[in-house]
Symmetry: C2
Subunit: 235 residues, 2 copies
Amino acid sequence: MLKYQKIAKHIEEYIEQNSLKQGDKLPRLEEFVAYFDAGKSTIRRSLSLLENKGILYQQHGSGIFVRTPKERGYIDLSFNRGFAYEFSDYELSNKLLAIEIREATDEVAKNLNITTADKVHYVKRLIFVDKQPLCIEESHYLVSVIPYLDAGIASASIFAHLQQNLNLKFGFSDAFLVVDKLNKEEAKLLELKTGDPRPCLINTFYLSDRTPFNYSNTVFHYQQSKFFVPVVKNL
Amino acid sequence: MLKYQKIAKHIEEYIEQNSLKQGDKLPRLEEFVAYFDAGKSTIRRSLSLLENKGILYQQHGSGIFVRTPKERGYIDLSFNRGFAYEFSDYELSNKLLAIEIREATDEVAKNLNITTADKVHYVKRLIFVDKQPLCIEESHYLVSVIPYLDAGIASASIFAHLQQNLNLKFGFSDAFLVVDKLNKEEAKLLELKTGDPRPCLINTFYLSDRTPFNYSNTVFHYQQSKFFVPVVKNL
DNA sequence: CAGTGGTCTAGACCACGGC
DNA sequence: CCGTGGTCTAGACCACTGG
């Protein structure tokens, strides 16, 4: 973990542990510099990271103040390597509905930059928070990148597996949110009705070398999902 | 406009004008430094800004590459000072449905950090893209911050007015997206049916001195709205 | 191992806020 | 006017990529 990330984490924990609230003033930049024995730029980077996470605000000429916009259980749209983290206070579980190797459909092929002759792992999971269905995730992993995948791996965090066991590095992702209506099957899984609102997050994930390796659609239970929208500062 | 912003703009226009595509390689960092006569850190800041906007990717040890995830007409959830910019290729118009001074409701009072005895400008607008209804915006402006508001101002960009005429500076905002079902009135305005999906963006805007001055709910036409989700890099 | 991006620092100077 | 953040630079050193 990098210095500026450690410092950010430290400051975040400090806010948490002292249960600071919206509007509370934090120490001056200079004090952070002295306390963490870091350069001014490093501290600013840590603070800007936290600012983009929405937990503080740096007011020019005045000071640094705490913000607390989020409630528990919001899905953070900005840090989308799975939402496990955001629900860390809750019990997350999932049921594996399907896992098999398929040829890519047109849609998948287009997004993974392959042909329909290429093979993908198709994984379908129903994810629960506190026993309530949260979302249906249909995910396509390139077999040429992830040769082996089984039920055991798919039931846990697939991303963690990629990182830890295959030594693959995540690069970036494209993400879109579209809203439509549930079909019969989706409604049944989410314990809703056909035609009910269907928020769907469409993701394409790329490795650090810019190879797309995963394309997924996640259909959320509209009543369970409140999305937190990051307000990115132009740092 | 700051140096790093000018440079970012310049690079973005360069990509646009030369119609560079996904995967195209850009000049090396060093070359940008020389070309723009700037420090390395400044160039990195410009590039990181563009990276967070999703239009390029910096690959460690390898180079800087173009990305083009967005199609036209996507609503960018990250830069939410109105979405006028994102639709710049389209004809945007709006119909003023209501403008009046009201006492704050509980919900509004809570979010603007005032009491229900305080007054707000209530503005309701129906916004169109290319004559099609896009969204219904219900907005509450603190009268103590914006003393005067009329139909002429409300029909144009209210935010631009605040900045240019009242010399108010925008600070940050809280934003959430929730999905529910349309009521009868909303459905009629959006030319949809009662019970159809109802994506709604809930915003609280703050001035640079951390005073909340606006609380708004924007209900979108679900078929017209695809939301682009920024993937914020931990810069 | 050469090429290219990433982290971090020290410090000069600027700009905003509030007394 | 002073205190506090913000911009920008030059440069040392690190880390990843790919031939």
